[in-house]
């Protein structure tokens, strides 16, 4: 809301500096956004929050200043001398849609001279960004700015049938508005019509046919109240916004409608002449009296944390416009003024006292009681995961939770359900809540490739949204990885991450058949039979799909599962003081034999002497080993906790292992 200094002076004494005015208004709720000098006047831009529509008019802003400085608010008297005939002789008004328009008032002035507005009015309107048009139209804008009540003036002679009907549009009805665009009207919109046609889009914009022109002599002055939701929907649907619609959306002062109408007439008579018909056509129920509010004075220290003397409380509230019914030592009972629809409860009055008394009075050094807080399990686990990933050379990325169709369809390993979608895209076609982090990370990889960044090692920790029918989706926390490294390197990172959180976790690897990944360089990892993670190299057509040039490996790990399975406080196991014995094994097996099975046999045959088994390599040589054979190279570390092992004992165990592997896996020692 832009406020002209010269104009504002009319309603309250401005004997303070501009800076002081800006500062105190900011500190009491009208945030100062900027001030511009326009032709010797100052245009002060104030932010008006949506709960204070009363400040969308000069009187509201002036009242705030009057309260803060203890000055008098000078409200124009709005005395419009009445003449002949009674307005009811000339016009009928009817509301057919009371749910869209609860009140409509009309006055008629005949014999005006339409011409330019006086310079003082034109200048004031220009300072606040309005263009002067003619005296009648300008006055209706002026009064709107003055009190926040929108008004409209019609050329009375152009109204057919001497009737105003407030109704919904007929099917297919349209209107040319004063902006000279034609609007198609729809059900739910409120139309001002004469006996034949729509003459205005109620509360939004007037029609071109009944627009005030230089030839106009007779006027209808409308001051009405429209339903805020209806106005908002109408303005949105027609993409037509005005100073009127803006105020109706936020709610006007039902008790001031007649004042606005009289004020408008007062100015018209003064500046354009004419005769005001007697009386007013006022259709719709009068506003019901406001409910009183009781403010218990003890609530002020209880909520604000400061004491405000009772006398000051009463002065603040009275200056703001409440009517005091009762005042005692412990409580005050007041009726809020019509222009403060936002004041309905005790807590609202507490806020009023607080902001006028000044929040700077609230101390910032009271002792807040100490309580303990704990770091959540999830935070501890994620901190470790981040440590391992950054130590392994991965940078943390953050990508949008919502993706476009292409990314969404490319890969979904955790669910077959169709993704949830937003009604409007979050960003450039992205309207699907993602079911995997990997496509987003591959897109980030592509961004980096396009920038020719040589090393692109990324991870992200974020949620994926797995649909559950009509319920809220299951939001699973995932760790996503994209890398230029080989499959076994990324698998190693995943295994290291899991081991860092719980070395006892046993993952079972299995083949996968994701169409994005190369089946000879990818796998699923399961924990207790459930899918826990997958790792894999992209196939060539996968790379093409994501427009990537360099080989890429991806992985995704269910952190929700890992958080549950983590062992955060390891128990110490005493390190045995006796030396270990190592034995290297080179076992030749058929191609189909799996490392995990051989490893299990090896471990099982070490008895109590097993300390660790390290996989070294898989070696193939069709000439020396045979075409369908491979040799598994490993190192086994043995240690006896109760004494020193001898070389012979180690050999014995090795022989035991070899025999068991021969029996179970057909393995031969090389």
């Amino acid at each position: 809301m832009i406020v002209s200094w010269n104009w504002l002076k009319q309603y309250v004494r401005l004997d303070m500096s501009l800076e002081e005015l800006e500062r105190r208004l900011t500190m009491s709720g009208l945030n100062h956004e900027g001030t511009e000098e326009i032709s010797g006047d100052l245009a002060i831009d104030l932010e008006v929050t949506s709960n204070r529509p009363d400040c969308l008019g000069y009187l509201g802003v002036a009242r705030e200043i009057a309260v803060l400085w203890g000055h008098e608010l000078k409200t124009p008297p709005a005395n419009a001398a009445e003449g002949r005939p009674p307005v009811g002789d000339l016009l009928k008004v009817r509301i057919d849609c009371p749910e869209l328009c609860c009140r409509y008032t009309a006055r008629v002035i005949r014999g005006v001279k339409v011409g330019p507005s006086p310079r003082w009015m034109a200048r004031r309107l220009e300072t606040v960004g309005l263009t002067p048009i003619n005296n009648v139209v300008d006055i209706s804008n002026y009064v709107l700015m003055e009190c926040g009540q929108p008004l409209h003036t019609f050329d009375f002679a152009k109204l057919k049938g001497a009737e105003i009907i407030v109704r919904q549009p007929r099917p297919g009805e349209a209107i040319e508005a004063i902006d000279h665009k034609t609007y198609d009207l729809e059900p739910g919109m409120c139309i001002i019509a004469d006996a034949e046609d729509a003459v205005a889009i109620g509360g939004v914009m007037g029609g071109a046919v009944t627009e005030i022109s230089d030839a106009t002599t007779d006027l209808l002055i409308e001051a009405a109240e429209f339903d805020p939701v209806s106005i908002r929907n109408t303005a949105r649907r027609l993409n037509l916004h005005s100073d009127s619609s803006y105020r109706f959306e936020r709610g006007v002062d039902s008790e001031a409608i007649d004042w606005a109408s009289r004020r408008c007439c007062e100015l018209i008579l003064e500046l354009a002449g004419g005769e005001l018909c007697e009386g007013v056509l006022d259709v719709g129920p009068q506003p019901s009296p406001r409910e009183p509010i009781v403010l218990r004075l003890a609530q002020l220290p209880r909520v604000l944390g400061i004491d405000v003397p009772a006398e000051e409380v009463r002065k603040i509230l009275t200056d703001l416009g409440v009517s005091e019914i009762r005042a005692g030592a412990e409580k005050i009972e007041v009726v809020p003024p019509g222009w403060r629809r936002d004041l309905t409860r005790e807590i609202d009055l507490v806020e009023e006292v607080g902001r006028i008394h000044g929040y700077d009075q609230i101390p910032e050094d009271v002792g807040v009681p100490m309580v303990s807080s704990t770091r959540t399990r999830e935070d501890r686990v994620l901190a470790k995961v981040r440590h391992v990933l950054t130590a392994s050379g991965f940078d943390e990325a953050m990508t949008l939770s919502v993706v476009d169709e292409r990314l969404s369809e490319s890969f979904s390993p955790w669910t077959d359900a169709e993704p949830l979608r937003s009604l409007t895209p979050v960003l450039r076609g992205a309207d699907r809540l993602r079911r995997s982090l990997v496509p987003s990370l591959l897109a980030a990889r592509r961004t980096n490739e396009a920038l020719a960044n040589p090393e692109i090692e990324l991870f992200e920790i974020a949620k994926v949204y797995l649909p559950q029918g009509e319920k809220l989706p299951a939001e699973e926390l995932m760790l996503g990885i994209t890398s230029g490294r080989e499959f076994s390197a990324v698998k190693g990172v995943v295994e290291a991450t899991v081991a860092a959180l719980n070395p006892a976790i046993k993952l079972e690897a299995a083949n996968d058949d994701y169409n994005l990944l190369d089946p000879e360089s990818s796998c699923q990892l399961k924990l207790d039979g459930e899918l826990f993670a997958y790792v894999g190299r992209l196939r060539n057509d996968g790379l093409k799909q994501f427009d990537l040039r360099m080989p890429t490996t991806v992985a995704e790990v269910s952190l929700s599962t890992l958080v549950k399975a983590a062992a955060l406080v390891p128990r110490h196991v005493a390190q045995p003081p006796y030396p270990a014995m190592t034995r290297d094994l080179n076992l030749v097996v058929d191609e189909a034999v799996r490392w995990a099975d051989v490893a299990a046999t090896v471990r099982a045959n070490c008895g109590q002497y097993f300390e660790s088994l390290r996989y070294c390599d898989t070696y193939r040589d069709p000439d020396r080993l045979g075409p369908d054979k491979k040799s598994l190279l490993m190192t086994i570390v043995l240690r006896w906790k109760e004494g020193t092992m001898t070389g012979e004992e180690a050999d014995r165990i090795r022989d035991q292992i070899v025999a068991a592997c021969r029996r179970t896996h057909g393995a031969e020692l090389r």
Binding site: T376, G393, S422, L423, N453
Partner: protein, 343 residues
């Protein structure tokens, strides 16, 4: 063995050893000679020493003395040859100077995202003030995102243009008011969930992604991260709110910081304020705050006559961008590794 033979053998041994050691070309050759002549098990000297046993008793002192002389002579020859080779290594070849300024072998470690770093620090500071982290869903229902936060059905804050409602087939066709679910527009939804499931006192922060329709530009993005604090207990006042925010600010800016409240409006707090913190002679905007609206307390089953609550919210992108001098917040979601590596 006769003494003369023994002495002759010793002389021959000494002559050979000295001659060959003097001629040794490199350290390996010299080492081989050392083993040959002075080897502890099967060196020549050792073998000759065995011959001492066969000398007549009367000749033994002479033999032993000569033996020791020869041994010393061999050891000296070895020492001399060793030194000669060492010197040769450093003389006659280009002189190399050790350069300690050559960089060490660096390994590449990864970087945490700057938003994570800021967020963890904020969680840390609030943790020290007794606030425990609470988490909640990003996809919410209307009760938690609106009703419980004192935003009634026809309130403008619910407008479809200002929220990401989810689409069902019916909603997309415009036939129904739409799916009841939406992407949350603030993390206060988490606070509602906590309060629904606990009795007061409550002292939590909720951190996470929120979504609001906004064209992406240097200072706006349709997804961002919030951190919101909530403290509900008996006798909680706005003075507590200011004091908690001051403690937070002092910790964050590592300096003495003052708090300023400017009256504002949020549906879920009453009174509502914008919070400024003093910084380098001026004030910077930090976020919104207020006392929890009694309607919100009632919605979660608390009695506003028994308890009051303070609440505050900060945008993490804005704090992070200001701290590090990042002028375009879209960088946070572009993930250029040259950006990520700066933090």
């Amino acid at each position: 063995m006769k003494l003369s033979e023994f002495l002759a053998e010793l002389d021959e041994l000494a002559r050979q050893a000295v001659e060959t050691m003097e001629a040794a070309g490199d350290a390996d050759a010299l080492e081989a000679l050392r083993i040959r002549f002075l080897g502890a098990k099967s060196g020549r000297l050792k073998q000759v020493q065995k011959g001492l046993a066969g000398i007549d008793r009367t000749d033994k002192p002479v033999a032993g003395k000569r033996f020791n002389e020869v041994k010393k002579q061999l050891e000296a020859a070895l020492q001399k040859a060793t030194q000669r080779l060492l010197n040769a290594e450093t003389i006659g070849e280009p002189i190399r100077q050790f350069d300690p300024t050559v960089p060490g072998d660096r390994f590449r470690f990864g970087h945490l995202h700057p938003l994570t770093q800021t967020s963890e620090e904020l969680k840390d500071i609030m943790g020290r003030l007794g606030f425990t982290v609470a988490d909640g869903p990003e996809v919410e229902d209307r009760w938690h995102n609106f009703e419980a936060l004192n935003i009634p059905p026809e309130h403008p804050a619910r407008d479809p243009l200002d929220n990401f409602y989810l689409a069902t087939a019916a909603a997309a066709a415009g036939n129904s008011p739409g799916d009841s679910r939406l992407l949350r527009s603030q993390t206060s939804t988490v606070q509602i969930r906590v309060m629904e499931n606990t009795r007061p006192p409550v002292r939590i922060i909720s951190v996470g992604r929120v979504y609001r329709p906004d064209t992406a530009d240097a200072t706006h993005y349709p997804m961002f991260q919030q951190i919101e604090g909530l403290l509900v207990d008996r006798q909680v006042t706005m003075a507590d709110l200011k004091s908690v925010l001051r403690l937070f600010a002092i910790s964050f800016f590592e300096d003495d910081v003052h708090i300023r409240f400017r009256p504002s409006f949020f549906p879920f707090t009453e009174p509502s304020v914008e919070v400024d913190m003093s910084w380098q002679g001026g004030w910077i905007e930090m976020g919104g705050a207020g006392m929890v609206d009694p309607n919100v307390l009632r919605a979660v089953g608390y009695d506003p006559e028994e308890v009051t609550g303070l609440a505050f919210g900060l945008g993490i992108e804005r704090i992070c961008a200001r701290r590090h001098g990042i002028s375009d917040i879209r960088e946070f979601y572009k993930n250029d590794v040259r950006f990520l590596h700066q933090f």
